[in-house]
Amino acid sequence: MRRSPLLVASAIAVYLFLYVPLAVVVVFSFNDSKLSAEWVGFTTSWYAKLVRNDEMLKAATNSLVIAVVAAAAATVLGTMAGIAMHRYKSRLLPFMVLTPIAMPEILLGVSLLIFFITTFGEESLSLLTVIVAHTTFCIGFVAIIVRARLAGMDESIFEAARDLGATPWQTFRLVTLPLITPGVIAGALMAFTLSIDDFVITFFTAGAGVPTLPLTIYTMVKVAVTPEVNALSTLLMLLTLTLIVVAGKIAPDAIGGKG
């Protein structure tokens, strides 16, 4: 088809714009200098330093616990919402499910901050409040993926199950659930990725005692920038990249529509 050299050249320039900065981060994570201004020599010492850093391990553990629990909760609630949104015409449910992800994150962050502190007190900000906050915004993403999966299916399968005498529960357990499983898994992985990467909502709901990896990056970037940030960033990139590859293997169709 029509692809002028100008079009190809400008598209390549944009792809470079997307990748060069990340390449710079990775390259300088191996730089044997405290400053990221020029290349001095190859070292893996920043990674070694990172692994020995207790604060960092604590943050990594927090991030992992939050992401696992929030993804699990959001998967259950989001799957329910996705099914309900597909089967029943209601304006309320889509509004409640989709608004939190359509608004700027800071709005959900500050409203949950007010809610937690006025309802449960100044000391209530903890791992649990972060998990609840993450669940709230992940539900929508899971619901969208599950609904998309259902929308692509032939409705006559469910009618056949009913005609053959299956109760609604049997239809759900034996027909619907196995069919939507790839969507549910993709939704769970998506929720996990969003949770482990989230900065803004965590920032407002974590309080002082719950460092997570993104919060740690933020502090490092604001206080003292060392190649340790590059090393941590590179490791985080590898983690999310792995998750995307895994998700793509399990549910190739569902991942393409995540935009």
């Binding site: 190809v8 209601s90 700027p104 409203s111 929308a151 409705e155 604001k222």
Partner: protein, 289 residues
């Protein structure tokens, strides 16, 4: 299409009210408690006084010493009374508009190239646009700290814009590509047969047809930029504060929650207006095409 539309009715008519209740009630209850109620508390907070030690002053009865209690319009009066707040809102809209425009200019060639590539290459090319998203948002901002630092461009309006564009570009590429991919290539052949130049084929055929994609992509870029505080904070100087920074400072810096709540509400209205405008323009774009 008609099969899926009739299905919900046949399902509910068969008395599966229990299934409906079981699937709708848990997410609705959760989101009522942790989304709707907090939002309403925030709306209420925007009409209250700040507490002496931050947070909120009590609604009834005597507060602590020096604390005013009850309801007030003061937060709104302060906002409208000093032009600096309106200026920051205007500046935020300006930065969001510039970011959106820059994203559009950069996203268009990529989306067009993907849409005009052979089918077997398209998924890979789309994946290549989304992959940088696999890195943490702060990492992508930090990358520009490293790059712009040596050139003395850090802590400037330009740095903020570059960061905003970099973080939001895929949000423009994806809807644009989804739209462009559906265009019928024979339209361009027809235009060519009728003597249209390459530029006219783009400007009078492809571009107008892509307007719905442009509008949805623009909303996806414009709205998050409005609420962003980390990029101005990390890449910008003090002059580059946007609404998001103001809100963040009200909650965590000065701890004036009522003022922060009022600002959040204003941001919500701004977002709703933009989303409404984008939806209206997209519909008009479809109607015209």
């Amino acid at each position: 299409m008609s099969a899926t539309e009739s299905a919900p009715r046949s399902a509910s008519s068969q008395g599966s009210g229990l299934v409906r209740w079981l699937t709708s009630a848990p997410p609705l209850a959760f989101l009522t408690i942790f989304f709707l109620v907090p939002s309403l508390i925030m709306v209420g907070a925007s009409f209250r006084f700040p507490g002496e030690l931050g947070a909120l002053a009590p609604l009834f009865g005597p507060g602590a010493e020096g604390e005013e209690t009850g309801l007030t319009l003061e937060n709104y009066q302060v906002f409208l009374g000093d032009t600096i707040y309106v200026q920051i809102f205007v500046k935020s809209f300006g930065v969001a508009a510039l970011t959106t425009l820059a994203c559009l200019v950069m996203a268009y060639p990529v989306a067009l190239l993907i849409a005009r590539s052979p089918k077997r290459h398209r998924n890979l090319l789309v994946l290549l646009c989304v992959l940088p998203f696999a890195s943490n948002f702060l990492v992508r901002v930090y990358a520009w700290m490293i790059i712009l630092g040596p050139f003395d461009l850090l802590f400037s309006r330009l740095a903020v814009l570059v960061g905003m564009v970099y973080v939001h570009l895929p949000f423009m590429i994806l809807p644009l590509y989804t739209n462009l991919e559906k265009h019928d290539p024979t339209l361009l052949d027809a235009a060519q047969d009728l003597g249209a130049s390459a530029w006219n084929r783009f400007w009078r055929v492809t571009f107008p047809l892509s307007l719905p994609g442009i509008f949805s992509g623009s909303a996806l870029v414009f709205i998050p930029v409005l609420g962003m505080f980390a990029i101005p904070e990390i890449l910008g100087g003090k002059d580059d504060w946007l609404v998001g920074n103001l809100i963040k400072e009200s909650f965590l810096g000065t701890r004036d929650w009522p003022f922060g709540s009022m600002l959040s509400l204003m941001l919500t209205f701004a977002v709703l207006a933009i989303a409404g405008l984008a939806a209206w323009l997209a519909r008009r774009g479809v109607a015209r095409a």
